[in-house]
Amino acid sequence: MIFKKKWNEKNPFRRLKEGLAKTRANFIGGIDKVIGGRRKIDEELLEELEETFILADLGIHTVSDILDGLREGAKREKIREEADVKNYLKKSMLEILNQADSELDTSTSSPFVILVIGVNGSGKTTTIGKLAVKFVNDNKKVILAAGDTFRAAAIEQLEIWGERAGVDVIKSKSGADPSAVIFDAIQAVKARNADILIADTAGRLHTKTNLMEELKKIKRVMDKGLPGAPHEVMLVLDATTGQNGTSQAALFNESLSLTGLVLTKLDGTAKGGVIINIVKELGIPVRYIGIGEGIDDLREFNAAQFVDALFEE
């Protein structure tokens, strides 16, 4: 298997940096343009920094907080030069991200059940496909549950990913009750002694109360089939999303108590800065990032690497 070799490559850090190259180029390009050659911190510099961060979708409030800190620091005369500004900003962002930096540990339960949710078109099914490949390469027995019974051909899409990863997909007919499909999948996981179940769900906007109730029901049914399940409630977020990402995370979290985030489509020009806002507000860890369409283009999120890669030249 070609992708297996790629995934196990010794230097995932290098791959991460490669994947983030474009993001970094834009982000740093902007910051360096602002900081380069400067000595003093004045209001003009702060305004330009504000622009750079807002363009990265960090959100006006997060940016204001960060810049207020910078302003105070400058007053205390600790921050004087461009290098200090950079370090200060890096530290502020790391502080926010580190409060929730933790990898997904699937050994805490056997079988381990992951419920994947998100708005329409965020990349749930693709992420599940990539996750399945990753777990298979870690020698786990994986089963997928085709819980998106609403969107046309969603089941077929998951089946194709199942084939690629070489794992079973538990499914029902289009239009079937997703809770029933997922309950069946839990029974299958137990009967077949699988290690991990990843349940797909239909994309839904976080403002639709009835569809959120449907997810709550799925969660209850999981717990009924396997007490303690789901062990991970994973929200998939599109990096292109602006400040609405905060509302998405907040409302999904309110209904379902999220335990992890995945940030997809980071290989475009979008910077995904809203994630800093989300982690700051909700303290939910970012598990993975999607940086391409290839089967192995899913990376474990690491706050230090992420911020380093963003700030590195």
Binding site: K22, E51, I54, L55, A56, D57, G59, I60, H61, V119, N120, G121, S122, G123, F150, R151, A152, A153, A154, E156, Q157, E159, I160, W161, S174, L205, H206, T207, T209, D238, T240, T241, G242, Q243, N244, G245, S247, Q248, K265, D267, G268, T269, A270, K271, V274, E293
Partner: protein
């Protein structure tokens, strides 16, 4: 739609409204708030900057200082400028004189191209057009299957690419097929792609050069952040677009992307996707949308919905009945059915001015089933009972409740409401003109 931005601006101007005069400081405060609100709404940084500048210039000018209600004047300026950005007029898709008209759909992954393709096809089919759907997304697993399912659901033909993996060939053949079979409209559903992927952008350009579609539509997610400007500019510059469809507008996204995309491309937003069902596609009215952003409600959309739901004839008949006081339970049922044609009740309520400001309403679940219950009750009555509700006594009420699967209390409530309604109608018809705030 745009709800949070509306609330925000309403909050700002509530403060302004209470003041007699606007001075430089008032305007500065208001502009700061407008700026924050627009940035929170994901309007592009650059667009916000220009916008604030224009509004400020006009606000500090004579017109405001002389005005007796400066707060209202500022609202009007902000609204006018919003409209100016989003386009002054409604922009529809015009079919060509020599069919088929070819529409090409493009956009990022997950922006909603395939679903919107289905919605658009459905709209034209309702207009009596013969539509051909073309699955040109050979990249995403099961994308072709998805379009086939949608086509089947709508009873619209989906072009059979016969396993061909070359999107340019698929599109080319489909158009030839459409000419031969005399289709009115061809909609090409292309694969989602990033605007920075050169090969894939080239592919779109080749398709466009080969087919020369009449409408190239960019499908954009209303939740998009600052990147909306780059995405729209890239698609417009390397392929050239004719219009935009904004999707996922029914959520709570503030939809600043609408302003940004329009500002950067200068191309009109033609439709808005407002739900998951295949008829959840609306024309995009820039002026109404601006009113909506400002929390002035969407009264024109409401009027239009009412117009399509009630035919003129029906309205006349109803008016007559009201005048002659022969309005019966049967008429009441007909009316309910017409209201249902207007769409889900919560969507209708959203359009009423002022409703957005009512915080409590957010948590109230609209009971969509109430009209169904009422219909069931009326259906369980005999024709005699429907024309003359006075004869409905206790035993009849019990029978009706049993027949409709409701309770006697439900039946009582309905009859009480009906009697009140008749009383109101009597007042209206005798009083002549009904006060209308518009």
């Amino acid at each position: 739609m745009f709800e949070s931005l509306s609330n925000r601006l309403e909050g700002i101007f509530k403060k302004l409204r209470g003041r007699g005069k606007l001075d430089d400081k008032n305007i500065k405060d208001a502009m700061r708030e407008v700026r924050i609100a627009l940035l929170e709404a994901d309007v592009s940084f650059k667009v916000v900057k220009d916008f604030i500048e224009r509004v400020r210039e006009r606000a500090v000018g004579q017109e405001v200082m002389k005005s007796l209600t400066p707060g209202h004047q500022v609202i009007k300026i902000v609204r006018d400028e919003l409209i100016a950005i989003m386009g002054d007029t409604l922009s529809e898709i015009i079919l060509t004189n020599t069919p088929p008209t070819v529409i090409m759909m493009l956009g990022l992954h997950g922006s909603g191209k395939t679903t919107t393709t289905g919605k658009l096809a459905n709209k034209f089919k309702k207009d009596g057009r013969k539509v051909l759907l073309v699955p040109a997304d050979v990249h995403r697993p099961a994308a072709i299957e998805q379009l086939n399912v949608i086509g089947k659901e709508l009873d619209i033909e989906v072009f059979d690419g016969k396993g061909n993996k070359n999107p340019i060939e698929i599109c080319d053949r489909s158009v030839k097929y459409a000419i031969e079979k005399k289709y009115d409209l061809v909609i090409l559903d292309t694969a989602g792609r990033l605007h920075v992927e050169k090969d894939l952008m080239d592919e779109l350009r080749f398709i466009k050069e080969k087919i020369t579609p009449q409408e190239v539509l960019l499908i954009a997610d209303a939740m998009t952040g600052q990147d909306a400007v780059k995405i729209a500019a890239a698609f417009n510059e390397s392929i050239g677009i004719d219009g935009i469809i904004l999707t996922k507008m029914e959520g709570d996204a503030r939809g600043g992307a609408a302003l940004s995309i329009r500002a950067v491309t200068g191309k009109p937003i033609k439709f808005a996707g407002v739900g998951e069902k295949l008829n959840d596609l609306e024309l995009f009215y820039p002026d109404r949308m601006a009113s909506r952003i400002l929390g002035m409600g969407d009264i024109l959309s409401l009027v239009e919905k009412a117009e399509t739901a009630f035919s003129e004839e029906e309205a006349k008949r109803l008016e007559n009945k009201i005048r002659k006081e022969t309005f019966t339970l049967e008429d009441f049922r007909d009316q309910l059915q017409q209201v249902k044609k207007m769409g889900p009740i919560n969507k209708i309520i959203e359009m009423i001015p002022g409703v957005k400001g009512l915080k409590g309403l957010k948590n109230i679940e609209i009971n969509e089933k109430a009209p169904i219950k009422i219909e069931a009750i009326i259906n369980s009555m005999t024709p005699k009972e429907r024309t003359n509700h006075i004869i409905i006594n206790g035993s009849r009420r019990r029978r009706i409740a049993r027949g409709s699967g409701t309770t006697v209390q439900d039946v009582n409530r309905l009859l009480k409401q009906f009697v009140q309604m008749k009383k109101m109608m009597k007042k209206f018809s005798k009083g002549g003109d009904i006060y209308c705030p518009l």
